[in-house]
Structures are given as structure tokens and as C-alpha cells.
């Protein structure tokens, strides 16, 4: 099983998107969802940094399901809609249940190609201890595998203990690394069976463009 985008052949169901703050992780994963949903994939976006409305504004005219872990955590309670389910970031069970509800919806409507984004794991690690976050990701990554979905989890480089990142890598067998040397941005994909060279990219508006 593989998924292709931006010239990458990703061969892992669970992929960490690792890079320093502002290196373009969110824009990259949004591009993945956008591109794949246009191709007919089911798309799920779990957001811990921007509200559902903010996320959807950057992806107009595609049908993306959002699990919004922001609105209920900080602002006052807001109702769910058909495409938006809101849950507090402290409520990992709630997050897990909402993701599964969207998966079930896709499954029952016959949709088998699904892409999910979790942006970002780093926020969850600010609220809950690493062990708990691993347990949560253990369950989630298994679900993605057994469904056959492709999931991308953003992680801020340099924010966490090296041990934490090493443990995350055990669950997320593919890694997209991002780098920014001040002038240009680069990314590459590494998995147990693949290792590619750094490739340059630019961000034009909301779009990721390969140079």
C-alpha cells in the first residue's frame, strides 16, 4: 500500500511530520489532505492549534471532516456540525471516538481511501504526559493500519525530549523531515524501506511547490 503526493511515495500508514516550528508542517499536511480529497479520498483533520473554522477556511471547496480540539478547550462551548466535531484536548477518549465515528461514516458509505492529519502531537504533549500520549497513539495508529488509511502526525522538533521523539518513531514508522536553513526550505521522506534525498520546496500562498 502506498500513497503518492508531491512526488513522494509514502509506504507507511502512520507518518510523523517532523520539523522545527514555522518550517511549514501545517501547510504541508493541509496540502496533502487537500490534494487527496480532490482525488476522491475521505479526509479527516484533527486540529489542536487552529479552530475548525480556521482550518476549513484554508481548504475551501473540499469536503473535509474536522475534529476540533481547540474550541472546547479554550473558548466556550460550540455546537457540532455534520463535518465538525468538537472535543476538549484533555478528552483523549473523546478524540478517539470522534475519529472513529468519521471512519465508520466513510466505511459504511463504501469509501476505502482515507487520509488523516493530526496537527499537532506536540500540543497534546503539552497537556498530558508522554506515556498517556503513547497509549493514545498506539490505539490510533493501529486503527489507521487496520482500516488501511494514511495518517500524518505533526511534531515540533526541538520541543521534546529526544527519548519522546524516539518513542514516537516506534509508532510512526515513516517520517517526513522538514528543514529551513534561513533561505530555503527542504523536506525528505524516510521509512524502514525508503530513504530519499533532501528536496527543496517553496510556499506560495497556501500552496507547497516543489522546486
Amino acid at each position: 500500500m502506498m500513497i503518492k503526493f508531491l512526488g513522494l511515495d509514502v509506504d507507511a500508514n502512520n507518518v510523523m511530520v517532523l520539523g522545527p516550528p514555522l518550517s511549514g508542517k501545517s501547510i504541508l499536511v493541509r496540502n496533502i489532505v487537500y490534494e487527496k480529497v480532490l482525488e476522491g479520498f475521505g479526509g479527516i483533520y484533527v486540529t489542536t492549534k487552529d479552530t475548525a473554522e480556521d482550518v476549513l477556511r484554508t481548504m475551501e471547496d473540499v469536503d473535509v471532516k474536522v475534529v476540533d480540539c481547540v474550541s472546547k478547550t479554550i473558548f466556550s462551548d460550540a455546537p457540532d456540525t455534520e463535518n465538525i466535531k468538537r472535543v476538549s484536548i484533555m478528552d483523549l477518549t473523546g478524540i478517539s471516538v470522534r475519529i472513529n465515528a468519521f471512519l465508520e461514516e466513510f466505511w459504511k458509505s463504501g469509501r476505502r481511501d482515507v487520509v488523516m492529519v493530526f496537527d499537532s502531537v506536540s500540543t497534546v504533549l503539552m497537556y498530558l504526559n508522554p506515556q498517556m500520549v503513547f497509549r493514545f497513539l498506539h490505539v490510533l495508529t493501529n486503527r489507521m493500519k487496520s482500516f488501511g488509511a494514511f495518517a500524518f502526525y505533526t511534531v515540533d522538533e526541538g520541543m521534546h525530549d529526544e527519548k519522546v521523539v524516539a518513542m514516537l518513531k516506534q509508532l510512526l514508522s515513516g517520517v517526513i523531515e522538514l528543514r529551513d536553513d534561513g533561505n530555503s526550505r527542504f523536506f525528505r521522506y524516510i521509512s524502514p524501506s525508503k530513504r530519499m534525498e533532501w528536496r527543496r520546496f517553496d510556499i506560495e500562498g497556501r500552496e507547497v511547490v516543489i522546486s
Binding site: 476538549s88 478528552d91 463504501g110 497509549r135 493514545f136 490505539v139 487496520s146
Partner: protein, 388 residues
């Protein structure tokens, strides 16, 4: 006091004061409604009830209750123990507020007061307190349990893949444990609950499938399994062999409507529907497939020429992603093909169970059901098991 959950109330009767009840919840199943329902039903009975929130704001909790049609604020006997607001730096006007929800000593001080002043305490998520405060939480929980001679403590506990010591301890600290599990097959297709442990009455394990209705809460229902297969394969015979009671509408030896039977199986009651085999009834297949939890495909092992039709029926009924097993029927006949040959001729993947049966003698029929149910119920996470 009662739990306020269908079937459980009949089996468990009243929960004596001083008892702790744990809803042990699969992390992929919407199970928090169980604790909420128990609280609301007892609120209506006039008991003093407190809900401990550690995963969402008091406002969100009230709205969550409202999703089920339960407006808790109409009740003077309702209060919230707020372990959330201060954690995210918000202010709180609740009756019980813990200033530092990471500090067990302070939680203990407030909890002791709440236990003193209420008939029922419901932990919205005991596992989250454990995650935030560490395993020591369970030492305190043991003290609260000892303190609660007059009151009942009910907890939602999400069974993440915790170490076994932790799960064992939670089991030991509970007078009753209700397991709330998922039926997993690529996605979570259904939910069930069953009694894992209870120490104040004697009950046999019994499992119930449920749906969460908004408004309404937990509703039990009877799952359906579809028995399909080509003309004359033995479906009607199969349904009768497996059911305690069954009816069929046959004309001249062929089924013209549905076979219907009820099976008691490991505590579940299951509705079994046998479909007609003739093509003119195919539209029914699709409708039934949408409602069922799993499919049993009966084939006549002596008739490979019917296999393409069998495959077609399978596709019609499992279009929605249902799990299925094959009953390789009429194995008493000399010309019957073995499961491996059937797998090859039908091009079925290796992980699809193919079970030899002789429906007329009832041979193998329960093995077929076993195989299907284990496809359905396997794959959950660290259930609280063992010492029940």
C-alpha cells in the same frame, strides 16, 4: 440506587450503598454516556449526585448532558466537582472546585467533602485523573471507596493499553465492572456491554449490543446476522439447525421470503435471517446487508458451478464492509470439495474462515457462528479481565 441502564438494572437490581461500579470502556467506543446516564436517572429519583469532570469544562459537560435530553440544571440535587477549569487556567463557579488538579492531596480534600455530601459520585473519566496524577491516584481512590459507606461511586474508565498491574488494581477496587466494548472490523461496527464482575448478586455473564441515541442515551438492541448463499445450498436447514426457534416461508421446498431464527450465543441473543437463494429476490439482499453485523455464506460443496453465484451474493451483502465466513455445506456427500479447494475456486483470501458443515445433522454450525463472532469481537484493547 440503580444504574439506569437497560438490562443491567434487571440483572443487578439495586446497587447497595458503599459500592463502587466501574464502566470499563474500550478507547474507541463512546462510553462516557454510561456514567452520565447513571447520574441522570438517579438525579430524577431525587438523590444528591455529583459529576466529577476532568476532561471538559462544566459548560461542555452540561451541554453534553443536553445532547441526550438531560438538562441537569433543572435539578437542585446536581453539582459538579470541577477538576478541569483550573487545569486550563479558567475560573470556575462550581460547588466543588479543585485549585490544582495535578495535586492529589487537594483532590482528596475536595473529594472527601463531595463523598460526605452526596449519595452518588460519578467520575466522568477516572482514567484521565490517573493519567494526570499518576498511579498514586488509585491509592486515594481506595480511600474514597472506604470513605463512601453512605454513597455509591460510579466511574467511567477508559481502558487504554495500561500495564496489567494498573488494570488489575482497578478491577480489584471495583465491586462491579461493566465492560463496554467495540465490535471491530476495520472500523468499529458496533458496541456491546456485559457484566465482568459483581459482588452483591449472582449473575451469569450476559452481553447486550447497544446504540447511543441522542436524545435518549443507551439503547439495547438485538444484532442481526445474515445467512445467504445460492439456491438449494442449505440455508434454511442451517438457520433451523442453529436456532432455538425458527420459522421459514417456503413454497415447494424453496424459500420465498425470509428464514428467521433466534440464537442464544455466549450471552448474546442474535437474530438470524436466511435469504432466498433465487436471483429474483436479490433486491432484498442489499437491504438486509445494510442492517446486519455479519454474513454467513452457505455453499453446496458438491456444486462448484454455483460458486460464481455465491461470490456475487457475497458482494451484494458485504458491500458495506461487513465481515463474513463461509459454511462449506453438505460435507456428508462423497463429492464434497474440501475448504481449501473451495477457497481456491472462489479466490477467497487466506484469512476468510471456511468451515465444513453438514446442516442436516447440525454439524459445524456453531463453529461457523464462533468464527464470525470472533471476527467481530476480536481486536479490542487491554480489557479488564481475569479475576472476575
Amino acid at each position: 440506587m440503580r444504574l439506569g441502564i437497560p438490562v443491567l438494572d434487571e440483572l443487578l437490581g439495586r446497587v447497595p450503598r458503599g459500592k463502587t461500579v466501574t464502566y470499563s470502556i474500550d478507547p474507541e467506543v463512546e462510553g462516557d454516556v454510561f456514567g452520565m446516564q447513571t447520574l441522570y436517572m438517579n438525579l430524577e429519583e431525587g438523590y444528591e449526585c455529583a459529576y466529577v469532570t476532568s476532561t471538559m469544562s462544566p459548560e461542555s459537560i452540561r451541554n453534553r448532558f443536553k445532547e441526550f435530553g438531560w438538562s441537569v440544571d433543572d435539578f437542585k440535587n446536581f453539582s459538579i466537582v470541577d477538576l478541569y477549569s483550573r487545569y486550563v487556567g479558567a475560573i470556575s463557579k462550581e460547588r466543588y472546585v479543585v485549585e490544582d488538579p495535578t495535586n492529589l492531596k487537594e483532590i482528596d480534600r475536595i473529594m472527601s467533602r463531595a463523598i460526605e455530601e452526596n449519595d452518588l459520585i460519578v467520575f466522568g473519566s477516572l482514567s484521565t485523573i490517573l493519567d494526570v496524577c499518576g498511579n498514586e491516584t488509585l491509592d486515594y481512590f481506595e480511600e474514597w471507596k472506604d470513605l463512601s459507606k453512605k454513597c455509591v461511586i460510579v466511574s467511567n474508565f477508559t481502558v487504554w493499553p495500561y500495564p496489567n498491574e494498573v488494570l488489575g488494581r482497578v478491577m480489584d477496587l471495583s465491586n462491579a465492572v461493566i465492560n463496554i466494548g467495540g465490535i471491530h472490523h476495520r472500523v468499529v461496527l458496533g458496541h456491546y456491554y456485559g457484566i465482568l464482575k459483581v459482588d452483591w448478586t449472582d449473575v451469569r455473564g450476559r452481553a447486550v449490543l447497544f446504540k447511543v441515541i441522542k436524545p435518549g442515551g443507551v439503547r439495547a438492541y438485538i444484532p442481526k446476522i445474515l445467512v445467504t448463499g445460492p439456491f438449494n445450498a442449505g440455508k434454511t436447514t442451517f438457520v433451523h439447525a442453529i436456532s432455538k426457534e425458527a420459522i421459514s416461508v417456503d413454497r415447494l421446498g424453496t424459500t420465498v421470503a425470509l428464514d428467521h431464527g433466534k440464537v442464544e450465543y455466549k450471552g448474546f441473543t442474535i437474530d438470524i435471517f436466511g435469504t432466498p437463494g433465487q436471483e429474483r429476490f436479490d433486491p432484498i439482499l442489499r437491504v438486509l446487508g445494510g442492517e446486519a453485523l455479519g454474513v454467513i455464506l452457505v455453499v453446496d460443496s458438491t456444486k462448484p458451478e454455483t460458486f460464481p453465484r455465491a461470490k456475487q451474493m457475497l458482494e451484494k451483502t458485504t458491500k458495506f464492509g461487513l465481515p463474513y465466513v463461509i459454511a462449506a455445506n453438505k460435507q456428508d456427500q462423497p463429492k464434497a470439495l474440501k475448504p481449501d479447494e473451495i477457497r481456491r475456486l472462489m479466490c477467497l483470501p487466506d484469512d476468510v474462515p471456511i468451515i465444513p458443515t453438514v446442516a442436516t445433522e447440525g454439524k459445524g454450525v456453531y463453529e461457523v457462528l464462533d468464527a464470525l463472532i470472533s471476527l467481530l469481537i476480536g481486536g479490542g484493547y487491554g480489557k479488564l479481565e481475569g479475576k472476575a
